[in-house]
């Protein structure tokens, strides 16, 4: 890692697909290298558009974006893109190979890696995402969740410094979602990645360092995930719903039963039983 210590610096970024529909207006923010930021907000608030601007897939109408110290311009975009990996909502849009193995190898071939390293990386990341047994399969034979795991493996195999997840877990089943979340946690823990995840998932937001709330193309709040879930009004305005445990503790409180926050799983039943037997 080099440069300013900032992965992204955005100054008054605006964007519209057409003159009558502005999508983002006046977005100014910094993202620290090595941090994990959640972009949250209602459907249509501009989250995915912002992700595409960060990844250099769209160009700003006005304002500026600096990536790891280099301004993101038409002349520099080819040099910046290899540092950024993007995993999208719909894995069908990013499947290139005729088999899972080819698909993971495709990006590596583009980087002209030695064959031995390609083989090693394909295997390592396939194992990590638990798709080792699918390597010979055609994408059409995979379920939605399996395809998404392939897409994540293909991006991670290129070992980018910045990874943008655009609702990457939204099509996965709960189990696979939990596994992906663990992979994100490991990535964060390794300190090698700056991560930006666009998500509605409460657990994923909680696991990140910082939540940036977008509403109508503007930054409505920029705060710690814990504070976001403590602010019912803000949650409501960005159409989020707190995790079940948080809601239960809140409802119990309305019924006059006070439990300290942060209980999970069996602890809730245990704590209530204690209250019951001590009365």
């Amino acid at each position: 890692m080099e440069g300013t210590g900032l992965a992204f610096e955005l100054q008054q970024v605006s964007f519209a697909y057409g003159p009558e529909q502005p999508v983002l207006g006046d977005v100014t923010l910094d993202i620290l290298q090595g941090s994990w930021v959640s972009l949250v907000g209602p459907n249509g608030c501009g989250k995915s558009t912002l992700a595409k601007l960060l990844g250099g897939l769209l160009a700003v109408n006005s304002g500026s974006i600096i990536v790891e110290g280099t301004p993101l311009l038409r002349e520099t975009v080819q040099q910046i893109r290899p540092r950024i990996g993007m995993v999208f909502q719909n894995p069908d849009n990013q499947f290139i190979g005729a088999t899972v193995e080819e698909d993971i190898a495709f990006g590596l071939e583009g980087r002209c890696l030695p064959r031995a390293e390609m083989v090693e990386r394909v295997k390592r990341y396939a194992d990590k995402l638990e798709i080792g047994h699918l390597l010979a399969k055609h994408p059409a034979e995979l379920s939605g969740g399996q395809k998404q795991r392939v897409a994540v493996a293909a991006i991670l195999a290129m070992e980018p410094g910045i990874v943008i997840f655009d609702e990457a877990s939204s099509m996965l089943d709960e189990k696979a979602r939990g596994e992906l979340l663990n992979i994100l946690r490991e990535m964060k823990h390794s300190g090698k990645y700056t991560m930006i995840s666009i998500t509605h998932d409460a657990e994923e937001i909680m696991a990140s360092d910082r939540a940036i709330v977008l509403r109508d193309g503007r930054i409505a709040a920029d705060l710690k995930p814990r504070d976001l879930f403590g602010d019912e009004e803000l949650l409501d305005s960005c159409r989020l719903i707190a995790p079940y445990e948080v809601r239960l503790v809140r409802e119990l409180c309305r019924q006059g039963i006070r439990l300290p926050a942060g209980y999970c799983g069996e602890e809730v039943a245990e704590a209530l039983w204690q209250l019951y037997s001590n009365k």
């Binding site: 057409g18 209602p42 159409r239 989020l240 119990l252 809730v268 209530l272 019951y276």
Partner: protein, 297 residues
């Protein structure tokens, strides 16, 4: 019965070396006007099951009966046009279903295709869009310039515009924001309660559908391993989680923990935070006494 499966099997590439089985002798019955949900881990055959409901996939073994239509393995299939009007399918990814250059054209395509007049089709389009919570300002817009969540809502509206008797949706809530998810579940429930539609949802987010669904089906490895009421699902969630890879939501595990602690196993489960908090409050009002068997609120 709206839908009856008799030992239905389905294999992709049935006659080739690469034959691979996706459904194995599935038998099930769903009555007219039910709200059913299909759960199960990735690759368990949920989507394959759904695609049999309007003849997109035909069984390679057994018999499927949907409304008055019968699809039987090895037999010539009846004309499917009317079946496809009466059974609306919403696929896993909305952009696969959208193709016109305005939302209005997309929504009118189905009704026009099935012989409706232009004026009526437009009316239907506007109504269907309102049902999913989008106003008429979306009609002239290009569907491919919408956000992922908005595209999904339009795709669902395009199926509602045909006014089908059976609505089958494959993971309809993925990519929607949490409140839109709750609203969609509520909308589907309203269509079922007020208009008598039969609704079948494939979902891996069980919590949001739990308050509305009356029949749960759990799939594993292409076979049906469970069909029953929400209360039965809650009681059997332990082995479904352990042996079938079912991701049981926090509201069920929390209830089961509390039910086990307080001896409430025979009660109707309280699966929302409001109901559970209310039930717990009633319990704590009478500490030390035998536990009353009162309703869940």
């Amino acid at each position: 019965m709206a839908i009856v499966f008799e030992q239905v099997s389905f294999a992709y590439d049935e006659r080739s070396l690469w034959r691979h089985s996706a459904l194995e002798e599935v038998s099930l019955e769903l009555g007219t006007g039910v709200f059913a949900a299909v759960a199960g881990s990735t690759g368990s055959g949920k989507s394959t099951l759904l695609q049999h409901f309007n003849g997109i996939l035909k069984p390679t073994g057994g018999k499927v009966r949907v409304l008055d239509f019968t699809l039987q393995a090895g037999e010539k299939q009846p004309p499917l046009r009317e079946l496809r009007r009466r059974v609306g399918l919403v696929f896993q990814f909305p952009e696969q279903q959208l193709f016109e250059d305005t939302v209005e054209k997309d929504l009118c395509f189905g009704p026009l295709n099935f012989g409706m007049g232009a004026e009526e089709a437009r009316e239907r389009a506007s109504k269907a869009l309102a049902l999913v919570g989008l106003d008429d300002s979306f009609l002239p817009r290009n569907p491919f310039h919408l956000s992922g969540g908005q595209m999904r809502k339009v795709a669902i509206a395009s199926v509602l515009a045909m006014d089908p008797d059976v609505i089958a949706l494959d993971e309809p809530t993925a990519t929607l924001d949490p409140q839109s998810r709750a609203e969609l579940a509520e909308l589907l429930s309203r269509l079922q309660r007020e208009q008598g539609k039969t609704v079948i949802v494939v979902t891996h987010r069980m919590e949001e559908m739990l308050p509305y669904v009356d029949t749960w089906i759990v799939m594993k490895g292409g076979a049906k391993v469970f069909q029953g009421s929400p209360a039965e699902l809650v009681r059997e969630s332990g082995w479904l989680e352990r042996e079938c890879g079912l991701a049981v939501p926090a509201c069920i595990t929390t209830w089961n923990n509390i039910a086990a602690r307080f001896g409430l196993e025979d009660e109707e489960p309280c699966l929302t935070s409001e109901k559970l908090a209310w039930r717990v409050a009633r319990l704590l009002e009478r500490p030390g006494q035998s536990i009353m068997r009162e309703g869940g609120g």
